[in-house]
Structure formats: C-alpha cells, structure tokens
Amino acid sequence: MSAFFAQHAFWIVTIVKIIVLLFVILTLDAYLTWFERKVVAHIQSRWGPYRVGPHGLLQPLADGLKFLFKEDPTPAGVDKFVYYLAPFLALSLALTSLAVIPFGPDPIRIFGYETNFGVADLNIGLLILYAITALGVYGVALAGWSSNSKYPLLGGLRSSAQMMSYELALTLSVVGVLLMANSFNLRDIIAAQGRHPNLGLLGWNIFPQILGFFCFFVAAVAETNRAPFDLPEAESELVAGFHTEYASFKFAMFFIAEYTSMVTVSCLCTILFFGGWLSPFPSGPIWGWTHFLPTVFLGALGLYLIWDGFHYETVFGRIVLPGIGTAFCALAALFALSPAVNAFIQGPFWFFSKVLVFLFVYVWVRGTLPRFRYDQLMAIGWKLLLPVSIGNVLLTSFAILKWGAS
C-alpha cells in the first residue's frame, strides 16, 4: 500500500491539494458574499444581513440552500447546448485559474513528500492566467447570446466587448513587473521582490510600479465586471444583463465564477505588486517580534468570538461561535509555542491578509463609486489605461537600462 503511495505520490498529493483548494475557495466565496453585503451595508449606514445567525454569518448557507432548491426553468427557444455550456465554462475557467497561484513559500513536507504550496508551478504561470482570462470572455458572450432574449444579448455583447478592451490594458500593465523580475513564473516574481530582505516593505513592486498597479487594478475591476464597471449586469440598467434568463443553480455558477475571479485578481495583485507572501517588516534582528503577529491576530480573533458568543441565545451563537473562538486561540497558542509551525505559517498568513485587504478594497470601491456609462467605460479602457500602461512599459525599460533591474 505504501509502495503504491510512494510511486504515485505526485498524483495523489496533487489531487489532495486540488480538493483542499476547492473547498477553501468555495467557502471563501460564500463568506465573501456575506462580507460584501455587510461592508456595502455599513457604507450605506445600514446593517446588512443580521438575523440569519449571529451577525448574519449563516446567510451564505441560506443563500446556498435557496439556490439548490429553487426552480430551474429553461426558457423556450434557447440553444440548449450553448445555454448549458456557458455557466459551466465560466465556472470551470474561474476555478482553473487558481491552480497556478502560489500561496506560500516552498517547500513543505507531508509524510516525507516534498511539495509546493500551489497546485502547479509553471514557468509561464502568468501567461496561463492571461490565457484563462482571455477564454473567460466566452462564458459571458455565449450566455448572453444563447438566452434568446434582447436584454441578455445586449448585455452579453457589451460585456464581452468591455472584457476584451480591458484585457489589453491588463496584460500591458504587468510588463513593467515582468521586466523587473525577468520571468513569467509567479514564484520568481515574488523572489525578485524579496531580494533585499532588509528593505521589507520598500522592496515590493508597488513603489517603482505605481502606475502599473493603478492600471492593473482598474483593468482587473473592469475585467471581472465588478464595481463601477458593472453596467452590463447592473440591475437597474439591463434587467441583470447577460444572466437574466439563468435561474437558480446556473446563476449560482456565474455568481461563484465572478467571486472566484475577484479572489484570483486579488491574489495576483498581492503577488505582482505587494510581495506575495513576504512580510512587510524587514528581517533584521530587532524585527523578530513580528514573527508573532499571526499568533496575536488569531488569538485576538478567537477571544473576540468567545466573548461575542455569550450574547446570543441560539445554538449557533452560544455554542458554535465560542467553540470556533477556542479553536482559534488554541491554534494561536500552537503558533506561539512551536517555532517550526510558526515559520511555516508566516508566508500564508501574510499572503491571506493581503488578499483580504484587496478584497476589502474591491468591495469598498463597489460601495462608493457610481457606475460608468458604457461609452465612458470604453473610453477609459482605450484612451486612458492603454496609453498609460504603454508609457509605464517605456518608463520601466528606460529605468532598467539606466540602473539595472534592482
């Protein structure tokens, strides 16, 4: 039995990693919807989901059950194959793009088998991400067309034209980072930012590449059809745009695809511009206390959950919440007491905190800015972002010629 494991260890570990990643990402998506509704609500001076479980924490569960049990009608006259293909395509592409993202520094050892923190470590990781983004336009375009109805068709056409336009700015804005790191491999890009560990925060790509980051973030928000660029799917404009005719589960697939691409873009932002899993603190001897920051955060969160659970009278509030809080405190104690686990957890902790910051910025932008009109949207893509990203490429090339890549 163990010989079988040893021989096929690569496949088994990969499958386990895929399952774990899928589970984590789907849970993250569900609670991202909760997070978004809460944050947008607080921006708008109201409370958001409040009654379904303490702080509305069971709301995603309720939404999921609703999606599963709702009636799933198929409109008449649709092209059946394309109608069923579109949400499936959108979801599978969005989930596939997570395979090339590295979540932590390498390597880790499980039962003596050494593996990396991401599912696949490709030399052209960034190009594969772009390829999957390019194919993502099909999910939207085919969904709009196959619905056999006016509003989805218009929404689908507009949305796919928008996605194609912003893809150019997206790809070009990262070229500055690629010039500085000399590789498409995402791990190499993070390593290039960690070249001077005593600089800490200042070694990240955000400082030389502030223009590139601006272009990348705006283009990415437009590419995922979110926040101020969501005219093709806005509720008051085109009756929900290209997914009008999609009901419960198929709509849930589009929904999950959108949030997953949000997560992917946030991960890309941290990897390309904010140092990935690198700590913002320099690694000198006086900064040794920063290694205990994961412990502190997790412990504080756990204590808050325990304290908060006593307000409620329901089972979930009184028992489950403090239970989770105690688990977090125990984990925090484990990190503090065991230096091996502490060193192991540093990278992923910083990575996930930065991803959460970017997700918050995404939701913040959605709650704050009004929608762009379609011609304004296309004008920004072609007349503002494209020249700025090309200018960034030129500037970065001259700077590298003059001063070298560091």
């Binding site: 030399n123 052209i124 390829a131 194919l135 709009g144 067309w145 056409l157 034209a161």
Partner: protein
C-alpha cells in the same frame, strides 16, 4: 504506450473531432465553438512539443481574441442555420473515398520519409528569452513590418465599419 503518446492521441483526436464538427454542424456558432476546441487542442499539442510561449500566445490571441471576434460577429449578424445544399450524390460517393485514399497515401509517404522526421532530439523547452532574442535580431524586419500590417488592418476595419454618410 508512454504517457506522451497517450496525451498526443487524446489531443489529436480532440482536434480532429473539432474539425469534423466544424464541417458537420449547421449553425455557425457551433462551428465557431468547434474551432475553439481545435485551437485549445492544438495549444495542448504545442505544450507537448515544448513550445510553451507559442501555446500561451495561441490561446490568448487566437482562441481568446480572434475567435471572440468571430463569435461576436455571428451574434451581431444573427446568422441562422444554414440552408440545405443541393449537391449531387455521385460527387459524394466518388469524392469521399478518393479524398480518404489521397490522405492515406500522403500519410504513408510522410511516415516512410527520412531520419529528420523521426524527431530523436529530446524536447528542449523553448524559452521566451530565446524567442525574444530571435525576434529582435534576425527577424526584426518582418517584426516591424507586421506592426505596419496591424496598423493597416485597424484602419481598414475602421473604414469598413463606418456607417454610410448621408449625402
């Protein structure tokens, strides 16, 4: 049967099925989807051949931009199902076996050819840097010409897509 051979046959089968589907589908959007399947299968074959940059460019540009253009035009023009063709059955019964025989003859000739086509070199991974060096040293003149070509194409598309002027 090594793993590479199995992957090759799977991808090749996918490409041929896609091409056959392009011919036999009646609605142009299904033909477009079949062509996308062919392109993705070919990108997989390029990866198998060690050309990773070309595979990525194939998906980003060909399957991700050019085919989107096709799909958008099909949607815009609302292309419907094709009309029935009126071929003679004789042409089909004589032509198809002849075509298959011709292809088999060509394939046999290729398979029996000299040692240069047996590919004994190990698949060395083509680096983007190598491609870029070649593009900017030996092929710099065609490279600049293609930039003019793209400019001409943009201008042509703009001119063609204009609405008619009311005079």
């Amino acid at each position: 049967m090594t793993a590479q051979l199995i992957i090759f046959f799977v991808l090749a089968g996918l490409a041929v099925i896609g091409a056959l589907s392009l011919i036999f589908q009646r609605h142009p959007i299904h033909s477009a989807l079949s062509l996308i399947v062919v392109m993705v299968a070919l990108a997989g074959l390029y990866l198998l051949l060690g050309a990773e940059f070309v595979a990525a460019v194939q998906i980003i540009v060909y399957a991700g931009a050019i085919m989107v253009l096709f799909v958008l035009v099909i949607m815009l023009l609302n292309a419907g199902v094709e009309e029935r063709t009126n071929f003679s059955k004789l042409a089909a019964t004589a032509g198809i076996p002849l075509a298959v025989a011709l292809t088999a003859f060509l394939a046999a000739t290729i398979a029996k050819s000299g040692p240069v086509t047996t590919g004994v070199r190990p698949g060395s991974v083509a680096s983007t840097q190598g491609l870029a060096t070649m593009l900017f040293r030996e092929f710099v003149y065609p490279f600049e010409l293609t930039s003019f070509l793209i400019l001409v194409a943009i201008l042509g598309a703009l001119v063609l897509a204009q609405r008619e002027k009311r005079s």
